[in-house]
């Protein structure tokens, strides 16, 4: 029996990706097999590598407050896309919460001049730029833009941030703290993060090859993704179109190392198990896993070990792909973008392969999707995220047929 007050559903999706604005654009681009990763040289002097950039982003000037950062603008456009069918004056939208993740936020607006003499840098116009620095600013930008007045929050769990934002938003809805929550993440490409990952020697100069034995690292991308979440009761009351059901969610930490994942993927495996427990499903019920799959040496092995732990009792290996091979790692936006690809899997029955996966890591429990797009019904799909500091998050989506609510 479905308890509609305790069932969390997705009623809106907004995306800004290197394919353009909107989920249709994302889906069509990925189905065509187009890879958005391209050689990049202009992000800072001396950088040579592959990134996936968003072009044609509207300028969106802030008439009332601080300057909008690129991460703010990505988030605002994605949020507007997510609520396109809602009346902006409706009580449901005005009372909504905004839970947005970002690892970059307004860092894209700040340059090294701030370190040498902050006061002088502020006098040179930095004051308005620095106002967009706090991570909470992205959620505020979305809230101000849409006139949304509920609780706003920034979530930081490194590269698992926006998956965690979705999980925490679901908790808030169960608590009755908001009628609806716009949850997701946004991150812009900027010299700070490119230089940081480059200094850690984590970047592959060529397009990445997740789960391939010959992988050499990750590529960075940019984008934003926002889900409109609400209880089924609320969605039914306003006759909303239910796009998917968030059946289970969980967050864990490896408590292993500040940057490296647990070698056996223990924390990630625990996270997947907890999400399946909440969804009241077994490993056999999961029809597709959208992997974290960064293409780094350590992540992909740890993640493969986690799949072995969780899915080794399945009758057949679980279909897994990493869609970072299409548009890179969008950091704080990655979890939400990949959640949307999991939703596409359950809504449309399309499973996207990992690009450039020619010599996969051996794994008896994972069916590495490669080569061609698979088309078949997928009742449940899981999106898995992990990040620096040992953060893990797992989300399980089902199609609009609600089977059970949580007690």
């Amino acid at each position: 029996m479905t308890d509609s007050r305790k069932t969390i559903v997705v009623t809106g999706i907004g995306v800004v990706s290197p394919y353009g604005i909107g989920v249709d654009c994302l889906q069509a681009g990925m189905l065509s097999g187009k890879c958005c990763l391209a050689p990049t040289k202009d992000l800072y002097p001396g950088f040579v590598g592959s990134t996936a950039q968003v072009s044609g982003l509207p300028p969106l000037q802030n008439e009332f407050g601080p300057r909008y950062s690129r991460s703010d603008r990505l988030a605002m456009v994605a949020a507007r896309d997510a609520v396109w069918n809602l009346d902006y004056e409706s009580t449901a939208l005005r009372g909504s919460g905004v839970f947005m993740a970002s690892t970059v936020a307004g860092l894209s607006e700040i340059d090294p001049g701030i370190a040498e003499d902050p006061a002088a840098w502020y006098r040179r116009g930095g004051l308005a730029r620095a106002a967009s620095y706090p991570p909470a600013r992205v959620a505020d930008a979305v809230g101000e833009y849409l006139g949304v007045r509920g609780p706003r929050c920034a979530i930081s769990a490194a590269c698992a941030s926006s998956a965690a934002a979705i999980a925490l938003a679901a908790n808030m809805l169960l608590d009755g703290a908001a009628s609806m929550v716009l949850a997701g993440g946004s991150d812009a490409l900027c010299p700070f993060t490119l230089s940081g990952f480059n200094s850690l020697q984590a970047l592959d100069p060529d397009p990445c090859r997740p789960f391939d034995r010959n992988r050499k690292g990750l590529n960075l991308g940019e984008g934003a993704a926002v889900l409109v979440l609400e209880t089924l009761e609320r969605a039914e009351a306003r006759n909303a179109n239910v796009l998917a059901v968030l059946r289970g969610w969980a967050m864990t930490n490896d408590a292993f190392h500040s940057t490296a994942p647990h070698t056996q993927g223990k924390g990630l495996a625990d996270c997947m198990r907890l999400a399946m427990e909440m969804a009241e499903v077994s490993g056999d019920d999961i029809g597709y896993v959208n992997a974290h799959g960064t293409g780094t040496s350590l992540n992909d092995v740890a993640e493969t070990n986690a799949y072995e732990t969780v899915f080794h009792e399945r009758k057949r290996p679980v279909p897994v792909s990493s869609t970072k091979s299409y548009f890179g790692h969008c950091l704080g936006a990655a979890g939400a973008l990949e959640a949307i690809i999991a939703i596409i899997a359950v809504r449309c029955g399309v499973l996207l392969p990992t690009l450039r996966l020619t010599d996969p890591i051996e794994s008896p429990s994972a069916d590495w999707l490669r080569g061609k797009v698979l088309c078949h019904e997928v009742p449940l799909a899981m999106s898995v995220s992990a990040g620096f500091g040992g953060s893990n998050a797992a989300l399980i989506f089902g199609n609009g047929q609600c089977r059970s609510g949580r007690s």
Binding site: Y44, P45, G46, T103, L107, P112, G113, I114, A115, E116, P118, A119, Y122, R123, L127, A130, P134, P135, A136, R137, A139, D140, G143, R149, P151, R152, C153, A154, S156, A157, A158, S161, A164, L168, N171, M172, L174, D175, A177, P191, S195, N198, S199, L200, A250, M251, T252, N253, A255, H257, S258, T259, G267, D270, L274, G387, F388, G389, G390, S391
Partner: protein, 348 residues
């Protein structure tokens, strides 16, 4: 009556009052002159006096960490000690860490910019990069205490502390953790202080030796406050306070939302949370008056605690330290025209 959700059973803090376990003994602190960077004339703030983390928590290694991470490690250790919890006897996969911060690891973020200024973006020093991430303090708390539950860092304009407490309670309520270490804090760096200064937010007391007064800008502070939060009745131990419910919004209908949250509860004490907003005390008093009339007593945010986006938890600890009357308390903070955060607590 709103049911009590969770008990605050442990307190730890690293603040201008020093690193302390439990309540903060009555003591006056004054803003101190900033010497960590060159200033043009006297500049004051409420500062954490330098100390060796390992002298408070034996074995702690913090040399490469942002001060925010180091203080989070010390404050969390003191709170766990104060709660009388032996983590080796707990299921560590069921212990959550929720950290609230306004600006994150500003010190190492600035260090990375320094590195870029000195060597160009192509020659940056890798060590400050991952340690400058906003979630680094929460991650280090998990690593040090070997706790593997949900690990979340939240930021919310002026209400990061309240938001952290509300979301930690939510994790307990939904059975996603059995115990939560809730922290909130920020550090004061040159870029942060000069930003406040350039924006004209600072109190005159930052520029001379006059006493701090309310209503004319604010005196920044720094530090980390930590609470141990656990479901009521999980252990038979003393609780400093019981958390019932909370709401926050930066642009909401404060009176209506808070009344809805309170239901039939009638708080007899209002604790002014202060928050990062200058002159917050007077607007908080006005909001408290609209909600509870004039019947509820007011525990004001001590100016000596200073203000940041995350100072609400420190102000809560200071309020509890001032031995408020038992009963229901409303921790209330305001920001701007319509921003508010409200926590309903039961005080034993």
């Amino acid at each position: 009556m709103t049911p009590n959700l969770a008990a605050i059973t442990g307190i730890g803090s690293v603040s201008p009052y020093g690193p302390l376990a439990g309540l903060i003994p009555p003591c006056a602190v004054e803003p101190e002159a900033i010497t960590a960077w060159p200033t043009s004339g006297l500049r004051r703030a409420f500062l954490v006096k330098p100390f060796r983390p390992a002298s408070v928590v034996p074995g702690l290694k913090t040399r490469r960490l942002d001060r925010l991470s180091a203080w989070a490690l010390v404050a969390s250790s003191l709170a766990i000690q104060d709660a009388g919890i032996d983590l080796s006897q707990e299921d560590r996969s069921r212990v959550a860490v929720v950290f609230g911060t306004g600006l994150g690891c500003a010190e190492l973020t600035e260090a990375f910019f320094h590195s870029a200024a000195a060597h160009g973006w192509s020659g940056t020093d890798p060590s400050p990069f991952p340690e400058g991430l906003a979630n680094a303090p929460a991650s280090h708390v998990a690593l040090w205490h070997e706790v593997r539950g949900p690990n979340i860092t939240v930021g919310c304009k002026t209400f990061s502390g309240e938001s952290a407490l509300i979301q930690a309670a939510s994790l307990l309520r939904h059975g996603q953790a059995d115990l939560a270490i809730v922290l909130a804090g920020d550090t004061l760096t040159r870029a942060v202080y000069e930003w406040y200064e350039a924006a004209g937010l600072l109190s005159p007391a930052c520029y001379n030796s006059e006493p701090v007064t309310d209503g004319s800008g604010f005196v920044p502070s720094e530090g980390v406050a930590a609470l141990v939060l656990e479901p009521n009745g999980r252990r038979k131990v003393r609780a400093y306070a019981h958390f019932s419910s909370g709401r926050w919004s930066v642009d909401g209908e404060a009176v209506e939302t808070i009344r809805q949250m309170l239901g039939s509860s009638v708080p007899n004490v209002t604790i002014c949370a202060g928050n990062g907003a200058p002159c917050a005390t007077s607007s908080t008093s006005a909001l408290a008056g609209k909600i509870s009339g004039t019947s509820a007593g007011m525990v004001r945010a001590p100016a000596a605690a200073g203000l940041t986006d995350t100072s609400a938890l420190l102000h809560l600890i200071l309020a509890l330290s001032s031995q408020p009357p038992s009963g229901q308390a409303l921790l209330l903070g305001t920001s701007g025209e319509n921003g508010f955060a409200a926590l309903l607590l039961d005080l034993p």
